[in-house]
């Protein structure tokens, strides 16, 4: 009897607590809302920058912003892991639930334009660009990458270069080799190295995008910037003979890679070059940060760099940008942050730490290392091409399908099936 009474009591208490819990949380969130209306909404910066250099860069940027606007509360809402995959999954559910962060990291190009802009989730930023006088401070081709139908939708903060061939200086010097400038030279060099028992080309495609990264560079080198760009608009078919030629070159290159490529990620593959087990490596210039900061190698002493064969004067662009989602409660604060992000000061605070170069063409080169200075110079003059592997050239759905096709091709090396798969996947690209 007593047991039963106490059970009822427990139930009543439980229900009561649940109810009061609800009501108290309601009232506290009401309070928070009222309070924040006075003090201003928190500025929530959403990114996947949690790695060593990039996190420091983001913190430097936030510090700079807070010095200028001490009244605005900033929240660093970075989501770790999966090269942005986890962050993108969280972002997608928040955007679909109409709970966007104040501003978020997104690659310029298709990831922005065919993703969030096409979904009608972004505010145009033309007025901000005009107010800040940015129209001639960013390269026109870069502004085009963050624009759709004449409206600009985000502010680029950094630039990484995708078409870099990294090589081990010692191996090249010992064998009297010069870094290759064309695909023909590449294969001559590779044959000599192979004859000496050195792996000519490192690849780490445990995550298949790394192989796609190599393939897009071969495409750019074979097709040229104009035709390369036409592939992603549907103006040039994947059944074009030039594409076939590129695929054949890619296939030939795969004959020179390390055998354990599928057990390595991009850092593990870079290690092969650092340790002198492989001679060359095609990867974006985040490799430089890995070589210099993590492996303590010296630029132009331990390792050298040249553009990927046939891509001199071309620049495979990977750019991180931030935009203003629709439905944000504090758009003016967000614009203040974007203004800092796009300023020379902001870009020079972030990029030296992240190991990238500024997206503006008038930043201060003295803050960057030797590689950075030269790349900034190249960036001003080169033809800009959007990267496929990093979401700038085509929507993510297409990129996923290309990654799958490349992953199969690396093993099967079946040119016809590969091109057929690419061509049928390209049907979803907009004409």
């Amino acid at each position: 009897m007593r047991k039963k009474a106490s059970a009822w009591l427990a139930l009543a208490l439980g229900v009561g607590m649940a109810l009061s819990g609800c009501s108290s949380s309601n009232s506290s969130s009401d309070n928070a809302k009222q309070g924040s209306q006075k003090a201003g909404e928190k500025l929530e910066i959403f990114s996947w920058w949690t790695g060593a250099g990039e996190e420091d860069g983001l913190k430097a940027l936030i510090k700079l912003f807070q010095e200028k606007y001490p009244d605005i509360q900033v929240e660093n809402a970075a989501v770790a892991g999966g090269a942005g995959t986890n962050a993108k999954a969280v972002l997608a559910s928040r955007m679909q639930g109409n709970d966007p962060p104040s501003t978020f990291q997104v690659h310029g190009g298709a990831e922005l334009n065919e993703g969030w802009v096409a979904a009608g989730k972004m505010e145009p930023l033309n007025d901000l660009y005009e107010k800040e006088g940015w129209m001639d401070k960013f390269p026109k081709a870069l502004i085009d990458m963050v624009s759709k139908d004449g409206n600009i939708y985000s502010v680029p903060v950094n630039i990484h270069r995708g078409n870099v061939l990294w090589y081990n200086k010692k191996i090249f010097a010992d064998n009297g080799l010069k870094p290759p400038k064309t695909f023909d030279e590449f294969f001559q060099v590779a044959d000599k190295l192979k004859a000496k028992g050195i792996t000519p080309l490192a690849l780490g495609d445990k995550e298949p995008w790394a192989a796609t990264h190599l393939f897009e560079n071969v495409l750019l080198g074979t097709l040229g910037t104009e035709n390369y760009k036409k592939l992603w608009t549907g103006e040039l078919s994947f059944n074009d003979p030039q594409v076939k030629q590129a695929v054949e070159t890619f296939k030939k290159m795969l004959g020179y890679i390390n055998e354990d490529h599928s057990s390595r990620n991009w850092q593990d593959a870079a290690q092969l070059v650092a340790e002198g087990k492989a001679a060359m490596y095609v990867m974006g210039d985040w490799v430089k940060g890995y070589f210099v900061n993590d492996l303590k190698l010296k630029v132009n002493e331990d390792f050298g760099y040249v553009p990927v064969p046939n891509t001199e004067g071309k620049f495979m662009v990977i750019t991180d940008t931030f935009g203003l989602p629709k439905g944000v409660k504090n758009p003016d604060d967000v614009k203040k942050f974007l203004a800092v992000l796009g300023s020379v000061e902001g870009q020079d605070a972030f990029n030296p730490l992240k190991g990238s170069i500024p997206a503006r063409i008038d930043a201060d080169p003295s803050k960057y290392d030797e590689y950075g200075k030269q790349t900034m110079q190249d960036f001003k003059t080169a033809e800009l091409a959007p990267s496929l592997a990093h979401g700038s050239a085509a929507p993510e759905g297409f990129v996923t399908k290309v990654n799958q096709a490349v992953n199969i091709f690396v093993t099967q090396k079946d040119v016809k099936t590969f091109i057929d798969t690419l061509a049928s996947a390209a049907a979803e690209l907009k004409k």
């Binding site: 009897m1 995959t85 979904a119 057990s263 993510e396 093993t411």
Partner: protein
């Protein structure tokens, strides 16, 4: 207190009447009140979302913008014609068969050895059981290093000329063409099976050990009196008596292996030519990397059905057994 007194006195006198009318007593109401929240939550967050996933899987939602228009079985047709999904079905089947077979054989063997009233039995029991305490992610990372062809066990095996390519091997044993893929046993999956078996065998050992302890000594003695050898004793009497345990082990292991994600994701990823890919990994990548929500939902439903093939007959038979 007064009300409670009233109900109890009433109950004491009127119990048979209440039973006949099936009138709910305070006990029933109390039980229902305690169960209601979890019933509601389970229906909403488990069955509700299963239904919703099923609905998404027949919609056209394959981009960032939800599109609820009805697509029929389009997404399923696409999947079953997809190289990657066909490879996933092969890998899951091979993985499940090898994994369960190895766990059952090793589990029985180790349990029988442990049952020999050894000294230090609890020590061994703990050693076998400890891997269970790890997360599959930890297991995956460790075995990824162990089976890495350029480090790991190959450093020992190389001098003997036995080094393998392990999970980077792209060969398919006994392969024949089936759909778009080569059907057979992918060599790479064996490395993953080893890791999974290492982790889960302890669980099977514990279950079989409990089963062995439940077999009365009289059975063994009777068999020995009748002149059975030790081998006959185990083969003809003990193992058949353990069959219900084997059924439980199969059910538990099958639902783990059909849904496996974390081990593969941490250890090998999809693998070259998708030799170690599984539906879980494909579902995650196509949904959250490619934004093919409807395709991802279709994969999730196929996974649910494949587990249901094992679980539903078990539930039905155990209900019959119970009543």
């Amino acid at each position: 207190m007064e009300t409670v007194n009233v109900t109890t006195t009433e109950k004491a006198t009127a119990v048979p009447v209440v039973r006949k009318k099936r009138k709910w007593t305070a006990d029933h109401w109390l039980a229902a009140a305690f169960l209601a929240p979890s019933v509601v939550l389970i229906f909403l967050f488990v069955y509700g979302f299963i239904g919703w996933t099923g609905y998404v899987s027949v919609s056209n939602w394959n981009s960032l913008v939800p599109d609820w228009s009805f697509a029929g079985l389009k997404n399923y047709v696409y999947l079953f014609h997809d190289f990657r999904f066909q490879a996933d079905l092969r890998n899951t089947l091979v993985f499940t068969v090898l994994f369960i077979a190895a766990v059952i054989v090793l589990g029985q063997l180790l349990a029988i050895l442990l049952d020999q009233k050894l000294r230090g039995e609890s020590l061994f029991r703990n050693i076998f059981f400890f891997p269970m305490a790890l997360s599959f992610v930890v297991t995956g990372v460790v075995w990824q290093w162990l089976f890495n062809p350029s480090t790991g066990v190959n450093l020992f095996l190389k001098p003997l000329g036995l080094d393998g390519k392990w999970y980077t091997d792209t060969n398919i044993l006994g392969g024949f063409h089936w759909g778009k893929i080569e059907f057979g046993v992918p060599v790479a999956i064996i490395a993953v099976v080893v890791a999974a078996v290492w982790q889960m065998t302890g669980f099977a050992v514990a279950m079989y050990l409990a089963g062995l302890r439940a077999i009365p000594d009289e059975v063994r003695e009777a068999a020995r009196m009748d002149g059975a050898t030790e081998f006959q004793l185990y083969w003809k009497i003990i193992l058949p008596l353990l069959r219900p345990i084997t059924v439980s082990v199969i059910i538990i292991m099958a639902h783990i292996s059909l849904k496996i994600f974390d081990l593969i994701y941490a250890m090998t990823g999809p693998g070259a030519n998708f030799v170690t890919d599984v539906p879980g990994v494909y579902m995650f990548e196509t949904t959250f990397r490619g934004n093919y929500y409807a395709n991802g939902a279709a994969i999730a439903i196929v996974m649910l059905l494949s587990v249901a093939i094992f679980i539903v007959p078990y539930l039905i038979s155990s209900r019959k057994g119970g009543s």
